[in-house]
Each structure stands twice: as structure tokens, then as C-alpha cells.
Amino acid sequence: MSHTLNHSDPNHVAQQYSSTQGIQHEEPLLFEYHHDAPESIQLPGVEGALSADLTRFSRSTPANIPSLSEPETVRHFVRMSQWNHGIETGFYPLGSCTMKYNPRVNEKVANLPGLAHIHPDQPEDSVQGVLKLLYETQGWLGEIVGLPYVTLQPAAGAHGELTGLMMIRACLDARGEHQRRTVLVPDSAHGTNPASAALCGMHTIELKSGADGRIDLDELKAHLNHETAALMMTNPNTAGAFESDVKEICQLVHDAGGLVYGDGANLNALVGVARPGDMGIDCLHINVHKTFSTPHGGGGPGAGPVAVNATLKDYLPVPHIVKDADAYHLKTCSDTSIGSVLGSIGQSGVLIRANAYIAAYGRQNLHKIAEDAVLNANYVLHRLKDAYHVPFDGICKHECLLTDAIQNKHGIKTLDIAKRLIDLGFHPMTIYFPLIVHGAMLIEPTETESRATLDSFCDAMLEIATQCQAGETELLHQAPVKPFRRRLDETQAARKPVLAWPT
């Protein structure tokens, strides 16, 4: 059935969208509802004519925001939600994304009116409850990563990277080392690392990974010099391997006069087991929407608090939460601070969910997160290692890396494997990342998946490998055939971008 829409004929539209696939409903865009606006929503407030001063600026043409009745609105969005896959729907093994179960109690407490409906500029004495939670979160995060000084302000991981690099730059400038403007970034790093360095007015040198996918010490040494500001390292790295030379790496960078930035995207492998601060990392951002289980929301919000050691603590952004004898305060100025990186104290609603999550595990259980996450990844690796090419040997941490090298011989690529997984009921893994191997498939099961789920995912992966061997390539090239939409034409979307529905 085609969905080229006929604007002039409301019945035609209605007819198209009444069709169903089982109970999976087609649903028009809001702009295609063809009826007069229903009675407007009832709103409180003050009536009265507006002054001529203001009406002189009145909007000349209406915005054309469609108006749906409440039942239509609910049905519209609920139907659309049913075209989505979420962690509550099923397995979501996106490598480097840590798609774990998001506890419902966190939603419940974050939506309490006393936490959701408070203004960031109301007097401090009227928000002591939330300040206490945030102060506690600051302290807990610092303790977990071994870097005691924490800013909650960055809104996401990449924002944390920028904030951390700003602090590093400020520290180096304070030492009079204004020439240190080079950031070393392994070629396996997330793209945000070099992008954040550029935004901080620094330039990037890419370090070629060694044969084992880890940082090559000789390559590192060759690029360390008096212009080095920092090394940005992700540990475990994006191949899922722990950088076992971390102590020596940090020592080399420090000896060369630079600092070490830790990308905390993969902290889930370490939480409660080992601490980046103990290893020599000076500064680390924490993706609370990964490790600390705040929901991803289809792309965000997240939060990217940054934890630092004593070397960098004077440069933390403001505002910063402090505590005196009887109350919590927002400290808004400091001579050495890098200033503000956000218009507010941070993504408070996200951060208090992280607090609830840490509280649920507590001191006694936190290490079980990393243990089960690493166990699950190694279990998947073990089950798939004969059917798929494993580029780097050894145990993995919280995620495992495979490639399509074996399947390539049958004309099957990583993309085909990913799309076939959808037909078999699974969200695909991260594909074509990291860039250091060809046809990467990065699988991060997380700790909240049962053995039964892992087994059925591995069975599906093995079935795909078998289908490749058997030459059933058409099945894979056509995949997916079962979901609400089949492969989408990304070339068409990018060549002639249509980013808004015409009026």
C-alpha cells in the first residue's frame, strides 16, 4: 500500500490509515488530520484585553499548529510508540551505549511534585531537599570513580568532554604552558572526543591502535611532547578491551607534562570493581544515562557529570553545590573556575534518578553491576567466537567486538546481519564502530539480561551465520521484512532533505 497522501481528499487519508497489520496501526502525521479544531483545552489564568503597546506586535499569520482532541492525541502518540523498540520491549545490545533496564521507581520518585515542579531560582531555603540529593550524588559519583571533586553541570557525555578539556586547558594555562594545545586521541575513540577538543580550541592527533586494539605505547611516546595537553582515553576501550597498561600510559603522559582525560562511556565494566582515579586518570566524565541507568528517551536527555582529582579541582565550573554546618548552597563564583557551561546547575531530574539507582544497589551490591555485565559479554563472546571473526583475542570487558569477515566471503555484510536480527526479534548491536576494524559489530548485553535472553540472541546470531554458509543470502539482503517499515532510503533523505511538513 502506498502512502502518497492526497491532501484534497480527507476520506482517502482516513481510509489509508484505518488499515492495520494485525494491531499495528498506520497513523497519519498530525498535520494530516482533516477536521475542524475541536473545542480548545481549558486553561486557567487571567483574562483581559492586552495593551496596544503589545498588540502592535501581534502575530500576523497563525502558526498553524494542528489541534487534536485529547483522545485523538493519546491514540496518535500511543500508536507511534508501538512502532518503537525500547529496552522495556526487548534486548538492546548496542555497544558503547549500555542499554540496561531503567528502574521504574526512579521515574516515580523523579516525578514527585516536590522534585519535578521546582524552579532553579527559588530561594535556597526552599529547595534544601533537592540540594541534598544532588550534593549526595556529587559525592557518590566521585567516590565510585576515585576522583573526589565533581561537577554536575554538563548535560551529556560530549558536554562533559568539553568541560573536562576546558579544565585541563585552564590548569595548563595556570602553569604558564600556553603552548600545550594538542590532544592525543586513539583511532578507536568516539567521534565526540576529537569534536570536543576542536570546540575547546585544541587540535587532535590520532594515535594508531596496536595490533591488539589497545593503545600502542611506542605510538604514544612518539607523539608526546611539550605541546601535549592531554590524552583522551576510553577504558575499557571501544573494542571492549581493558587498557592494562593504563598506569604506564598515565605516567608517560604526566611525565611529558600532560594530563589524562578519561571518557567514561564504558564505566559499566568497572563500577564497584576498580576506579579510574586510582589508575592515574585526572578527569573523567560519567554518562549517567549509561552506567547509572537513566532512560535514553530516544536520544536523550542524559547527563555528563565530570569528576576530577586535586590537580583540577580549582577549575570546576560554577554553580557548584557546597554544604556548610546546617545547609546546602549553590556556590556561584570562584576566581579560578572555568565559568558556566550550561544555563542551569545541570540536568537535575536525570541526576536524581541516578541517585536512586545507586541507592538501590548500595555499597554492598554495586560491584555486581560490573560483574554481571562482564560475565554476560564474555558469555556472548564465547558462544559466537567460532561463527564470527573475533579481531582481538582474550577476555573482554562489558562488550565484545566481532566482525563480518567470515560472512563477507558469502557476500554478507555487517549491515545485513544487523537487519536480519530485527526480523528475528532483536535490536541490532552497534555496527561499523569502532573504526579500527572492518565491518565492526560491537555487542554490549549489560547486566540486566537473563541467560535465556542471551541464549536466544546467540541462537539468532548463529542461525544467521548458518544461513550465510548455506548461501541464503537473499534472505539477509532483503531483511528486515517483518517490522513496521523495511529498509529506509537514506540517500533520498540526504539528497533532498525534507525536514518539515509543508504548510
Binding site: 540517500t491 540526504a494 539528497r495
Partner: protein, 124 residues
């Protein structure tokens, strides 16, 4: 894979057609195939002086971006405006309708390869 004999090539997979004091630039068949479906070409401004080896245009596919480098020095005298609406011409006719820019040649050039040498280079 076509490699016309009347053009010169670079190791960065650009081609150049030199006609007197003018030259036409584009990307080779190998380059367009490696990039996949081209979705956008960022063209240089007319009048911009280019050093040989300088990035003067950007070719984008859905998931990749490539700088395009000038094979010889010169000043841009014309750009292929048709690519703004139809970047796919780089895929369908890279040596013809998919040309990118024309320059008034100045002194300076990167290493230019004949069709034979470029073909050998690709095999290596």
C-alpha cells in the same frame, strides 16, 4: 572501472583535463564508487585561488565525507552548479556531467599520473 586516456589523475583519485590555460577537475570512477551514493557536493567559490594539493570541495555520501584536492594550482573560474540539485551526477557520469570545477591554471601541480600509471596505482 573506466579510466579515460585523455585525462591525468592524482593519487587522491581526482582527475584533471588540461586544455591550454584552463583545467577541469573531477573525481575518478574509483573514488565515486568507493564513496557510494553521493548526496552532496560542497563547491568552491568562483574567484578562489587554489594551491595544488589544497582541498577545494567536499563530497559527501550518507555516511562518509571526503575532501577533494586540486590537482594543479589555479583560480576557480566556473563551478558545476548542476551538482547542487543533482549530486548523483558524480556517480552516474564522473568524467562528464559530474565535473566539479574549472580553473585558470597557475604555476604548481601535484604529481599527475597518466591513465596507465593511475591504473597501475589502483592495482597496487
Amino acid at each position: 572501472m573506466t579510466i579515460p586516456a585523455d585525462l591525468k589523475y592524482t593519487k587522491e583519485h581526482e582527475w584533471v583535463r588540461i586544455e591550454g590555460e584552463k583545467a577541469t577537475f573531477g573525481v575518478s570512477d574509483h573514488a565515486q564508487e568507493a564513496l557510494g551514493d553521493i548526496v552532496f557536493v560542497e563547491l568552491p567559490e568562483v574567484g578562489r585561488p587554489l594551491e595544488a594539493g589544497e582541498a577545494y570541495a567536499v563530497v559527501e555520501s550518507v555516511k562518509a565525507v571526503s575532501d577533494v584536492f586540486a590537482p594543479v594550482s589555479g583560480v576557480v573560474i566556473e563551478v558545476n552548479g548542476a551538482l547542487e540539485d543533482a549530486p548523483e551526477l558524480v556517480n552516474s557520469d564522473c568524467y562528464g556531467a559530474g565535473w566539479i570545477a574549472k580553473v585558470q591554471i597557475a604555476e604548481g601541480s601535484v604529481e599527475l599520473l597518466s591513465d596507465h600509471k593511475y591504473s597501475t596505482f589502483l592495482e597496487e
